[in-house]
Symmetry: C2
Subunit: 471 residues, 2 copies
């Protein structure tokens, strides 16, 4: 996987714009580009150029002009990858991009693999592993909140703390291993109280970080929401009411509208993803036939269920539906928001009575809510958004605490906490030094995996293969 | 439309890549970017920076970090637009791109309209109008040949010649108008023979250029090809055989495959577009029911028709089909390539007889060809490609002659030739000076429209509204 001797190249921008960027990195990058580039108004060759300088000229295939381009030179170590690098900004024609890549390859470059630029940045010490992972998260970020997590992690996030704690732990591990070398002599270089304090501290930090994963994951991937309900209760009208407002907000800057994800809304910077349950055949308002059987899996994935009922529905039926949802989701933390829709169709006195009855008789679970809305007339939509917003709470917004959103970190942190719990228990129970040393080594290993101080080709492959080409 | 006092901004790359480029241009561009950019490792502000310099730093919204970016400064007139300009290279997240655009707008920039950067380049004299149009063609170019036309035009193409001829004509127009001022005195400042020579020269050049439009248009937009034939004659197999090879060729550089257009093949750098005739109901092998009735329009648009028959078909039926196609296209220049498919299914002696009979009895029009193929076994596919390639000929490849591909230029050139034909006739028939002067003025006007020496808001709007945002 790792091949730093080669010079790699790839398109760094998507196809279809006015301009395209091509990236080249590696020991030969400037030399290779120099062969196919002729500057306008200058006799200086690219190889004589200093870093952070842009040159205007043309890409040539022999005598044939391929394009007028801007070429930016970066000199190691002051580049993204830490290597000599070139960025070519050309016109956004697929033909031109392909032609330039072909020329680069003909002159000695190779096609970059997904994430290879960032992997080189990691290998050359330009960033640690969790920062490299944050780059992919940053590119994928579609909401204010997910962007905030990614930026924080890219800027070091908890890496520095993890590295420092690991260093302290390494110190103790060496002392204990030194004790082992003395065998029978029963010396004690490592202060057991101090060690215990450190173990507890790291364990607590690990548990706290790992417990932030639920919030982090929801922020990063969006909170899954399912809309359930009998036919014609107004599910699509509700979804449209939620989405339409969003569309209006995002469409005020030309050229950016299409970027937005279908069927997602953003409330206070957090993404809520509506899970597609289209194609359900809903043939009756009988609870069993809500059509949700077929989407059991989807409903289980959902963090929130919007159950859409009508103001004229019998409270018992509504309760049955809600019970059924609770039963099939089998998760008492799942939040059901019962929406009483079509409050517009009843005359006011009737409505007051219907509402009162529903208010009294609809039973709510501990996480549930009841809201009266008119999807058609957009009544109650703001209140619904506030309810949705409550799900992941507000504490994380004002807090400076680190939130982790990467499942690899989550698993590593859990492993750290587990190993350290064993160390703690071992220390308390007078377990033999060699077993304690082993558990400490394991915790050190997992801490090192997070920041990349310990990596294997397998870990690197797993991380970088999910990157896009050109990053 | 034209508003050069404003500073404009827009994304210049498509959404979905590792990186995105944002362009800012106009008098305030550097100042506006300076407000939202904080450089790393430098105290120098963007406003102090010279052109063609790249700075690394972060985009800030108040204290909130939006992204780590590279910012390139361009100083007027040495920029694409001829104005002070900035390019911001950020991570390719739609959220980040939108956020940066919002910040730019909040600080005084406005969203750029489609083509507004290039329009400014034209207005500031960085390129003439036909060069500006070539930029759009260049971005859209998908074949070697269309790319070549666009590059040639972008580099001036015929602009310089047109401008020089227009200048000469202007000189004569002034002389003739001067004569008019002298009224009854019957002076002759403009040498009539010299004028006649110039008129003929410009007329000939205009006609020659305008006659290249057919080739230019085919190169630019691809040559439309229709595949016709009775059901199960192997039309889809043939299309797949042609396309599959193409797919294999274009997919050897990762990240570029998806750029390629569906159902197009490239032969010697020229694009052949297969016109979709899917969805035809073909229920019989009767000529009248080839299914082509419904696609009459599409067949009329096609430059080439591939008529797929089987080796066991009766020559008379094949002739009837071809005749029918000739009749409905009503264009004797339309080229029909009669393909006798499935030469694999017959044993060799039978095949020789069948082939001989078809060879003798199938009638070909003057532009038609007959080929024996097996789409399934990919026999004869190369020969077919050679035949396709013959259509636009080879002369233009080796010639240095200008080929025009823009319908606006085509129309202007025809108008020039027409006005000058009237001048020529007028001179020969001793028409009055004022009428001749009017026709010369008209020719001058049309020549000026090509290069943009004469423009109206309407012309500019028509040209630039078809550009993409950010160009």
């Amino acid at each position: 996987m790792v091949r730093t001797g080669e010079t790699i190249c790839a398109p760094a921008t998507a196809s279809g714009g006015a301009l395209s960027l091509i990236r080249v990195s590696g020991p030969q990058s400037i030399e290779i580009c120099n062969k196919i580039f002729r500057p306008f108004k200058s006799r200086k060759s690219l190889t004589e150029e200093t870093g952070f300088r842009v040159r205007y000229g043309e890409i040539l295939d022999g005598n044939k002009i391929i394009d007028d381009v801007l070429v930016t030179v970066f000199r190691k170590p002051d580049s993204y990858t830490g290597e000599d690098s070139i960025e070519i900004s050309c016109h956004g024609s697929p033909y031109i991009v392909r032609k330039i890549l072909e020329l680069l390859i003909k002159n000695g470059a190779v096609s970059a693999r997904p994430g290879e630029f960032t992997m080189r940045a990691f290998i050359n010490g330009r960033m640690d592993l969790s920062q490299a992972e944050a780059v992919a998260d940053l590119i994928a970020s579609s909401s204010e909140a997910s962007h905030r997590l990614a930026i924080h992690q890219m800027r070091g996030g908890f890496s520095d703390e993890i590295k420092a704690l690991r260093q302290e732990l390494l110190h103790f591990a060496s002392l204990i291993e030194l004790e082992l070398d003395f065998g029978e002599e029963d010396v004690e270089f490592a202060d057991r109280n101090e060690l215990l304090r450190l173990i507890r501290k790291i364990k607590d930090i690990s548990l706290k970080l790992s417990s932030s994963f639920k919030t982090g994951n929801a922020i990063k991937n969006g909170i899954p929401v399912v809309i359930a309900g009998k036919p014609n209760s107004g599910k699509s009208t509700l979804l449209n009411a939620l989405l339409m407002e969003e569309r209006a907000i995002v469409s005020d800057i030309p050229g950016t509208t299409r970027d937005y994800i279908e069927d997602s809304i953003f409330i206070e910077g957090v993404e809520y993803r509506f899970i597609d349950t289209a194609g359900l055949r809903e043939t009756s308002d009988d609870v069993e036939l809500l059509g949700i059987k077929k989407t059991l899996e989807k409903i289980k994935q959902a963090e929130i269920i919007l159950l859409v009922d009508e103001v004229t529905d019998n409270p018992d039926i509504i309760n049955k539906r809600a019970e059924y949802l609770r039963k099939i989701t089998d998760n008492e933390n799942k939040r059901i928001i019962i929406l009483i829709n079509k409050i517009d169709i009843e005359s006011s006195s009737e409505y007051v009575n219907l509402k009162k009855r529903l208010f009294d008789e609809v039973k709510l679970g501990k996480n549930d809510s009841l809201l009266f809305i008119s999807a058609k007339n957009k009544i109650g939509i703001e209140e619904l958004k506030e309810k949705l917003s409550e799900v992941i709470g507000t504490e994380w917004r004002d807090s400076e605490d680190v939130i982790i959103s990467n499942i690899r970190h989550y698993e590593a942190l859990n492993n750290v906490a587990e190993s350290l719990a064993r160390v703690e228990e071992g220390l308390n129970n007078g377990l033999s030094q060699d077993l304690i040393a082993m558990d400490i080594r394991q915790a050190i290993h997992y801490l090192g995996e997070i920041t990349g101080e310990i990596t294997t080709d397998e870990i690197l492959n797993n991380i970088f293969r999910n990157f896009c080409i050109g990053k």
